[in-house]
Symmetry: C2
Subunit: 332 residues, 2 copies
């Protein structure tokens, strides 16, 4: 690892809705046989939000992250909303998070970053740039995903794959005596795959008020096998270049947190990249794919489980709609 | 001006739809008397997209910006989508811009930044951080706004205010002998004003498939007088702190490009901040408020008009939904 910015994930926090939806119940609703969901997605249970809003979930995760960082709300200078779906189109979700937190008016800047499942990864690198440049000393990233109306029950594979969750991180400059740092980062988009993972509605193309827009346009659609094929074609080259530019080798990483795409996606990618299974953290089975919240949730849960530890060299990586590949290395 | 990053707006480009909608025609549709629209908004005519998509408009602007920068498409390492409304919810609009441009697969990273009307300003500062840090050497920002279904004809003030346009900028490191730089930047959100300017639909809160969502939820709504009041309360203090932190005084700026909010907003703000009218560029009358495309469009048009010139000290500033205040100084 070289190119290290002395920036630290000072705190992590999560919010999980209470309601657990298990495969037996969901399988009945989706009309698929017993065992089908787990076999196809790798998910056994997932959370589903009740009345919580995206911003309420995000704010709850941020509060926990601030506690974990032993940071005060009025230290926060920037709130980055980093979710696939916003609370509403205007204003940005980060502004609603500021409001939910009752953070001091005018003290923090708010904007959103959108790279679907990789939004947190992009935001984490941005936060490290801000802090490294001296612009801000306390940045909060909030990823919050609430899938209720966006899943298409006629596509059981994706309807069963996703879970609701929020997760947040507090970023600060690394203090004397601490080794935490953010290292190399790469993001690469192959837009010939833009339509392989999409939600056509919600913007100008299939506007909700356009009579041509169908309810299906407002739900998530995915050509799973084609995405996997494309990821397999592009990821090994991307990862090789990442390691070269980082000045790292696979074995340097004590801990690997992949985006929790799907069991098959994780396993195929692990083998293609030659990653050590014992160093990878997987929470897909109990959380589902929590979209942009997936990576920070895995960071927080692996830390709570005592697996992720200070000083470890960590690799975050994954694919997102776009098709975009992303990776970031850090010393936790 | 201090804190200068040697980053240069190497090129600017725009795209304007052909169709011009004049007040006479629009006033009839909206049921308002002759002269009302201009008096209330300051807009005389605005463009309206026909069949163009958000991404097609953005890509056309990017091509022009690349030409202006004498840059090749395969130099582009990052495409930031910086619009209030995306093309569709997933994937990010930047990925669709990469596809429209037929930019080399995998060569550029794509993600979106969302801060409504200030999205370009936020993206411009981000681009300067990336370039200053050495991460990228060629960044493209594309702002593209297409308002067709998002305007509420029962609110003639906002329905007449907005215009469709796209504008793009190419950012590169400043070369030897050039003085271009990006200086101080500030962004500040007052989320008690989050609902003063909003579009409730398009996200999880009023999802298009939620039976509770009304067509009005999917259109833009604004409490103009309340926004103006809040901006007047917050902007003078924000601007004073901006100047202090920048080590600048008003008179340092040769040229001021405000977000083209509305005629009244511009005039009230100008007086409150003590800005010199002769140094401000206004294209509201013929373009309308083009949301996030407003600032880069004004940059490009003032440059084409011979007003904005290399070496000038420029101030960009404005307010956006959130309520967010933003300002950035640069040497063009």
């Amino acid at each position: 690892m070289k190119h290290l910015a002395r920036v630290r994930i000072a705190g992590l926090g999560t919010y999980l809705p209470d309601a657990i939806v298990r495969n037996v119940e969901l399988g009945k609703k989706l009309g698929v046989p017993d065992g089908w969901i787990e076999k196809v997605t790798g998910v056994v249970e997932r959370r589903r939000a009740g009345g919580e809003t995206t911003a309420q979930m995000a704010a709850a995760a941020v509060r926990n992250a601030l506690d974990d960082a032993e940071a005060e709300l009025d230290e926060v200078e920037l709130i980055i909303g980093a979710s696939a779906a916003p609370q509403q189109l205007i204003p940005c979700s980060a502004a609603f998070v500021q409001r939910e937190l009752m953070a001091p008016a005018g003290k923090s800047a708010c904007f959103d970053v959108g790279a679907t499942c990789l939004s947190f990864l992009v935001a984490l690198h941005l936060a490290s740039l801000y802090i490294h440049s001296g612009k801000y000393r306390c940045v909060v990233i909030a990823s919050s995903e609430l899938t209720s109306f966006a899943l298409n029950p006629s596509h059981p594979e994706s309807a069963a794959l996703f879970g609701d969750a929020a997760a947040a991180a507090v970023l600060k400059p690394t203090r004397k005596g601490e080794s935490s740092a953010v290292g190399h980062y790469a993001l690469s988009t192959f837009s010939s795959g833009a339509h392989l993972t999409e939600l056509r509605g919600g913007g100008t193309f299939r506007h909700p008020n356009d009579p041509c827009t169908t309810p299906e346009d407002n739900t998530f659609s995915m050509d799973g096998p084609a995405v996997l094929r494309m990821a397999l074609e592009t990821m090994p080259g991307f990862f090789k270049a990442f390691l070269e530019q980082a000045g790292s080798v696979r074995e340097d990483y004590d801990f690997i947190i992949p985006h929790q795409a799907s069991r098959r996606g994780l396993e195929v990618m692990r083998r293609a990249l030659g990653l050590n299974r014992d160093r990878m953290f997987i929470n897909l089975e109990r959380r589902g794919n929590c979209i942009a919240a997936s990576i920070p949730l895995a960071l927080a849960e692996s830390r709570s489980a005592g697996l992720l530890q200070r000083g470890q060299r960590v690799l975050l990586l994954g694919t997102g709609a776009g098709l975009t590949l992303g990776a970031l290395e850090l010393i936790f």
